[in-house]
C-alpha cells in the first residue's frame, strides 16, 4: 500500500491499540481506518460502563456493610464476637443482633440462596423484616412462621433462605430456631464436649406449608455457642476438598477451652491455611 499524499511506502504500526499506516517516505503522513477509531471509541465506552458497574458494586458493598452491626452487642456475663468475610462485592449472608425490651438478646445469621446483587437485595429485605418482627414477637418460631409467609409471597420460586436465630437472657437461658441452617454447636466447658443444635425446620421461603418450632437452650459458665454459615464448612482447598464439619468440630474441641476469641482467631487461621488463597464459593 502507498501513501495517498506522496506515493511512498507505508508501514503499519500499532499505537495505543489502534493500527495506523505511517508514511516511510518523509511526508510524515499517518493514515488510519475510521472504523478502527469507532471500535476504539466503543471500547472506551465499554470500559466506562464497566467502571461505572464496578463503582455501583462498591457502593452496594458499602451499603450492605452498613446494614451489619456497627458495634458489639452486650449481654451481661457474655462475650460476643463475630466475623464476616464476603467473597464478592455483595452477597446473601448477614448477621444481626437485637436487644429486646425485656433485656434479652436476639442473635441471627441468615444465608440467602444464590449470589450477588439478587441475594443481597433479598438479604436487605429479610434483615429489615427480622428487626420488625422481633420487636413484636419474642419467640423465634412465631417470627420464622411469619417470615416464611412473607418470603413465599415475595421471592421467586427456587430462592430460599437458611437462618439460625437464638434468643438468650443474661442467665444464659433461651431458645433457638434454625430454618435449614448449618447446625450450630455449643462447646460444653464442664465436660469439654460439643452439643449440636440441628435445624428445626425447612428452609424459609420455599414452601408455604412449612411450620417452625424452637428448642430450648441453656448456656453455662464457660460454654461457647458457635454459629456459622456454609462459607466455613464449604471453603475449598486447592485440591477441591471442603473444610467440612469434621475439621470445624475438631478445632472447637481443641481450642474452645481457651475462649471464644481465641477460637475465632484459630478458626480464621485454619481456614486461611486450608484454602491457601483458593477463591471461596460463598
Amino acid at each position: 500500500m502507498r501513501c495517498p499524499a506522496c506515493g511512498k511506502s507505508l508501514k503499519t504500526l500499532t499505537v495505543g491499540g489502534i493500527e495506523i499506516d505511517a508514511c516511510q517516505g518523509g511526508c510524515e503522513g499517518i493514515w488510519l481506518d475510521r472504523r478502527e477509531l469507532n471500535d476504539k471509541e466503543d471500547a472506551v465506552q465499554a470500559f466506562g460502563e464497566h467502571r461505572r458497574r464496578q463503582l455501583d458494586m462498591l457502593r452496594a458493598r458499602e451499603i450492605q456493610r452498613s446494614l451489619l452491626p456497627h458495634s458489639t452487642p452486650r449481654l451481661n456475663g457474655f462475650t460476643i464476637d463475630y466475623e464476616c468475610h464476603p467473597t464478592r462485592h455483595v452477597g446473601g449472608d448477614f448477621y444481626d443482633f437485637l436487644p429486646t425490651e425485656s433485656g434479652e438478646l436476639v442473635g441471627m445469621l441468615a444465608d440467602v440462596s444464590g449470589k450477588g446483587v439478587s441475594a443481597a437485595l433479598l438479604a436487605a429485605l429479610l434483615q429489615g423484616a427480622l428487626r420488625m418482627e422481633f420487636k413484636t414477637f419474642k419467640s423465634c418460631d412465631a417470627v420464622f412462621n411469619r417470615l416464611n409467609t412473607l418470603l413465599c409471597d415475595r421471592i421467586l420460586t427456587g430462592n430460599f433462605v437458611t437462618m439460625f436465630a437464638v434468643v438468650l437472657n443474661a442467665d444464659g437461658e433461651g431458645h433457638y430456631a434454625s430454618a435449614g441452617h448449618e447446625p450450630a454447636y455449643i462447646y460444653r466447658a464442664a465436660r469439654g464436649g460439643l452439643e449440636e443444635l440441628p435445624s428445626t425446620g425447612l428452609v424459609l421461603g420455599a414452601f408455604g406449608f412449612a411450620a417452625y418450632e424452637c428448642s430450648q437452650v441453656r448456656l453455662q459458665d464457660g460454654d461457647i455457642l458457635v454459629v456459622y454459615s456454609d462459607g466455613v464448612t464449604e471453603a475449598e482447598g486447592p485440591t477441591g476438598h471442603s473444610f467440612g464439619k469434621r475439621r470445624l468440630c475438631d478445632l472447637m474441641l481443641k481450642e474452645a477451652a481457651r475462649g471464644g476469641q481465641v477460637l475465632k482467631s484459630r478458626l480464621l487461621e485454619e481456614l486461611d491455611v486450608f484454602t491457601k488463597g483458593t477463591p471461596t464459593p460463598e
Binding site: 440462596s113 444464590g114 427456587g158 437458611t162 435449614g180 435445624s199 425447612l202 428452609v203
Partner: protein, 114 residues
C-alpha cells in the same frame, strides 16, 4: 458443564441420573429445563437419581425445589434415590428430605444426554 444427565425411561416414569456437580449457572438451568421438558411431554412421575452427584450448592437446592413445584403443580410426583454422603447431609440439614420422597432400588435402560 459440570453436570451430565442420564435420561432413562422406565415403566410409567422418567428417571434422571445426575452425574457431577449441580451448581448455579448452566448446570441448574440444564436440570430445570430437563424437568420442565419431561413434564411438558406428559410424564407424571419423575425420579432423580443422585447417586453420582458429587456436590449441590444452594442454587442446586433451589432447582430441586422448583422441580418439585413444577411436577406437583402438574399433578405428578417427583422422588429422589441414591442419596450419598454430602448431598444427603445437605438435604437433611435443609429439611428438604421432609418434602421429597426417597426411594430405593434403581431400574434401568435408556438414552444418555449431556
Amino acid at each position: 458443564m459440570k453436570l451430565t444427565i442420564d435420561y432413562r425411561m422406565t415403566d410409567g416414569s422418567v428417571e434422571l441420573g445426575l452425574t457431577g456437580k449441580l451448581l448455579l449457572g448452566d448446570e441448574t438451568r440444564y436440570l430445570g429445563d430437563t424437568i420442565k421438558a419431561a413434564v411438558a411431554d406428559g410424564n407424571k412421575s419423575i425420579v432423580l437419581d443422585l447417586s453420582e452427584l458429587a456436590y449441590i450448592d444452594s442454587a442446586g437446592l433451589g432447582t430441586l425445589i422448583t422441580g418439585f413445584k413444577t411436577v406437583t403443580n402438574a399433578g405428578g410426583d417427583i422422588k429422589l434415590r441414591g442419596l450419598n454422603g454430602g448431598v444427603h447431609s445437605t438435604l437433611v440439614t435443609t429439611k428438604l428430605l421432609t418434602v421429597f420422597e426417597v426411594i430405593e432400588n434403581p431400574q434401568t435402560s435408556s438414552k444418555s444426554t449431556s
